[in-house]
Symmetry: C2
Subunit: 240 residues, 2 copies
DNA sequence: AGCATATCCGGGGTTTACCCCAGCCAATTG
DNA sequence: CAATTGGCTGGGGTAAACCCCGGATATGCT
């Protein structure tokens, strides 16, 4: 049995027919259309292989994978993503058990690539989309990989917070925030004020731009963070 | 005859079979897979209806539409887009002739919606995706609609440029730039420093965040702008 | 003509973001 | 055990980003 989860009807039927054509002997194909549903179905049906779309209502593919793997660590997971966002590769890395089997394919992959990935995962190998390999390389690179401290700061400035607001939120000094930002800028390769006169940048905005471009952050992730921020503020307001 | 243009093979075949099932009497369906090709084919074949994906290599769907409509203003165009980005609606508005016929459908539309849109456009009506109507409302709203001046400034800060760099690039004073930014912030509803103490924002980054959220700008548009910027700098460097 | 709007420009101010430098502490690593 | 690295703290500075104000120009609408 193979379980597939995607909120888009079109992608679901595309994948289903593709799997039916190539993996008919792996039993029936079950469908879920959001993150919560796929978790429920997975725990009940215990399928050996699950396709998960990253962007789904209620529960993202990553979080769904986390919950499923917590109960059934031997489940093979193939993630489907629209973009080569570094955030997701980052998050997936934490969720998948060290020797777990998983695949990561972009939605613009060819049918052949999806079949190839499925075949690989079913026989116990990992398959990662060509475009992503580069990203993973960077994820493991010491010099450019962001620490969680830097990542937190990055998200905050992307949301438009001031140093002062960030400090208050993360329980830090403004100096500490600036320290984080400084190393962030360095890792992103943004020139400072002193060096190079023709490339004048507002490092703050430039950092947001480059990070978005590289897929370190993206809008839907930021929306999540902003929602959390809002909740925290509401809680603080109601307690006073 | 119907001409469809999309760089993704999957979307192309999906649309083709959908049209074949529902509009068989409209003649054969021709396919193009990038912006330049669809312009060439359109000028040669003069199809009454063209489907255009917005995101295509070489030439965006909008620009392709512009070139086609310049020669064949009576062509009906249906745009296909992944997002409800305001930028695109904005640009499409300028390109389509006042009484031209066009449709705008998002790629997550149901098959029924696409059929409906096609039917409408073929009979001379415009069809706009439900989610977009709201965006168009805003595009025409005086109070929140950005002027081109403000939009230019917005793009520049999103790219991470300083006031000084923007001024140099747009041949303005720094004061003029700040003036543009000030009205931009006002239209985006970003509070200034004086008012409201618990909402402390770096207006610059906040503007970028909100604009991206609302679809006023997006990454691929910014990448285009940055490429232009780079060209201008190269030209300046080689002339000195 | 009168009015509104958008845009640009100027002076003169405050606050914030970034800069350099140095030191401390904790955890990791050879 | 050193040695290194990542992170926080501090002092003291410069320049960029934002603030309020008034004034000039052009454009379009009634």
């Amino acid at each position: 049995m193979i379980l597939i989860a995607d909120d888009e009807e079109r992608d679901r039927s595309w994948l289903k027919s593709l799997l039916n054509d190539n993996f008919a002997d792996n039993g029936p194909i079950e469908e879920a259309h959001d993150g919560q549903q796929v978790v429920d179905m997975a725990l009940k049906l215990k399928p050996p292989l699950i396709f998960l779309d990253i962007k789904m209502p209620h529960l993202s593919g990553i979080k769904a994978a986390e919950q499923i793997l917590a109960q059934l660590p031997n489940t093979a997971i193939i993630m489907l993503s629209n973009f080569s966002d570094e955030v997701y590769v980052r998050q997936l890395w934490k969720v998948v058990p060290p020797n777990g089997v998983f695949g990561y394919v972009l939605k613009n992959a060819s049918n052949e690539q999806v079949v190839e990935a499925t075949r690989a995962v079913l026989s116990g190998d990992c398959w990662i989309h060509p475009g992503i390999a580069r990203v993973i390389q960077r994820t493991q690179n010491r010099a450019t990989n962001l620490t969680t401290a830097e990542y937190e700061a990055l998200v905050c400035i992307a949301l438009g917070m001031t140093d002062h607001a960030i400090a208050k939120r993360l329980y830090l000094t403004e100096k500490a925030v600036q320290s984080r930002l400084k190393s962030l800028y360095a890792k992103l390769g943004i020139p400072g004020r002193g060096e190079s006169h023709d490339t004048e940048f507002n490092q703050r905005c430039r950092a947001v731009f480059l990070s978005t471009k590289r897929g370190l952050i993206n809008q839907s992730e930021l929306d999540d963070w902003e929602a959390k921020l809002q909740q925290a503020q509401d809680a603080r307001a109601s307690s006073t």
